[in-house]
Symmetry: C2
Subunit: 311 residues, 2 copies
């Protein structure tokens, strides 16, 4: 093997990256995981996770990320705080340019930089995230049995999830800035036929109202045509206005992608030989901790096989 | 919806099936999971699992399966002991024929029946499984640091894993019934060049020798050409002679498959609309708890979407 800094580099320390790191360090690969902030990723912001298998009572996002990192470090995974700002992925040696001006090279790379939900950017939103403000109905809907919630958004995901929420909540408001939905007709029809759903048209939320003890208690609203303001009482707010890939450091001209979400095959190969991806950054329909972990495992085993055949 | 017994049926209670069951019951689908024996699947036979993310010190296979089942049952998943002997998957209603002569119908089906490693079928093998006899080097190799182990087999997996084992073990015997390997040349060359590997040709194991306290201590061998017998001292035996899908109840003429392993796309759809599959029964390269869980999650979310669009 010609001189590279590491056999394998993993960029991103969420569940996918930590799983790849666990597998790689346990297999005694020369590996380093680069994280731009604290390890854990998006899951760190999740108050309580009920659907990651193995924890009968659920577990906090913070604790789960912490356990995954501790486990990987038991096998001596090196985790470095080193933001990557640029990558060159063409050819057998991959080069990462770090924020401090230095570079790191490797033979195989696993990209697990994740994604983040779009925010509405109003007062109270960040403060009450995980305390009544949620960005994932599949994850959090069951916590709202018998409650009143609002969905912000008018696309397919927002409207589908509003219908899903009616299995649990007594009342679901759909708050949309226009007077018509962007969701497809079949999805719209289901929502219109559901008497637990009430649409609030031409309206934007202006503040998440809450209480330090109780979490979210309501939303302040503004009608964008009349300018009228109002308040509604709520137990939860689902912000479902899309998700953005963490792609700022990715050379998108070197990787097949869809608006920044990286295309992979079932074994987590990207279009660039030696480059693998897993977790929320990949192009897919479902973004859960459980499948991020599975993809991280497969990405590492594929990278290991690639290294065996190319060294 | 016309009358079916359940919206969704899951066949098989290993990690993939229990994860699908957790997601389905938590989403309030009308679902039942059918198991032919105790839930848990192949993982129940695994002594210690170090690489399922979330358990820093590892966890026994029994405990992990138990936790997954408890978690799914917290959301009222119904688990039935009901061996399936035949299925009819064509058309919108899927029919399962049970061992007791009854039938169950559903709109969507998730197949997670798993697979089992081929055994050598010699005395001591079953007794010492999980106590020195292993069927997965990726899973168990790190437990043999500084030890002496044998690999039984001569195919690609056996020889690749023998090379992998040399990262941990001081000595790796490869015991093969012929005088040449079936593995590809590139794989063979790596093994021949590795001075920790010693080949024992034309030889079959006749007994796993062990001790109730220490587990495996060696193998009794027989040369198939000369008939000579011998013994070697070992700390572990890796039986890597292939894996068989649990396909006896599957209508393989109704599902695209490769020798019983079911073909799926990235969203776990099989070739039959409304039928999904996950875990060791699917056609894939890597069989770990972590990816079985990810696939179980995706299979359920895909089934949920299918039901929404077809009811």
């Amino acid at each position: 093997m010609s001189n590279v800094d590491h056999q394998l580099i993993i960029v991103g320390g969420g569940p996918a990256g930590l799983t790849a790191g666990l597998y790689a360090s346990r297999a005694m690969l020369d590996v380093v995981l680069l994280e731009k902030g604290a390890a854990g990723g998006q899951v760190m912001l999740t108050d309580w996770i009920d659907n990651y298998p193995g924890f009968p009572e659920g577990i906090s996002g913070f604790d789960l990320a912490d356990k995954m990192e501790t486990q990987a470090k038991r096998f001596d995974l090196e985790v470095k705080l080193a933001p990557v700002i640029k990558m060159d992925l063409i050819g057998p040696v991959k080069t990462l340019h770090l924020e401090d001006g230095s570079t790191l090279t490797c033979r195989a790379l696993i990209i697990t930089t994740g994604a983040r939900p779009n925010q509405i950017n109003i007062p109270g939103e960040v403060e009450f995230t995980g305390r009544g403000v949620s960005y994932c109905a599949t994850c959090d809907a069951p916590f709202y049995r018998g409650k009143t919630v609002a969905v912000i958004g008018g696309g397919n995901t927002a409207v589908q999830e509003a219908v899903h929420l009616t299995k649990f909540a007594d009342k679901v408001y759909v708050i949309h800035r226009r007077d018509a939905l962007r969701a497809t007709k079949i999805v719209q029809d289901k929502a219109f036929a559901n008497d637990k759903i009430e649409f609030i048209w031409d309206t934007v939320p202006t503040e998440v109202v809450g209480d330090i003890f109780k979490g979210v208690t309501g939303l302040a609203l503004k009608n964008v045509t009349s300018g009228a303001t109002s308040n509604i009482d709520l137990d939860g707010v689902f912000v479902l206005i899309g998700i953005r890939p963490n792609m700022e450091m990715l050379p998108l001209d070197q990787l097949d992608n869809d608006q920044g979400f990286i295309h992979t095959n079932v074994e987590m190969h990207t279009s660039q030989p030696g480059v693998f991806a897993a977790g929320d950054i990949i192009y897919k329909n479902f973004r859960q901790v459980a499948n991020a972990v599975g993809e991280g495992c497969v990405a590492c085993l594929s990278a290991e096989r690639y290294l065996e055949n190319n060294e």
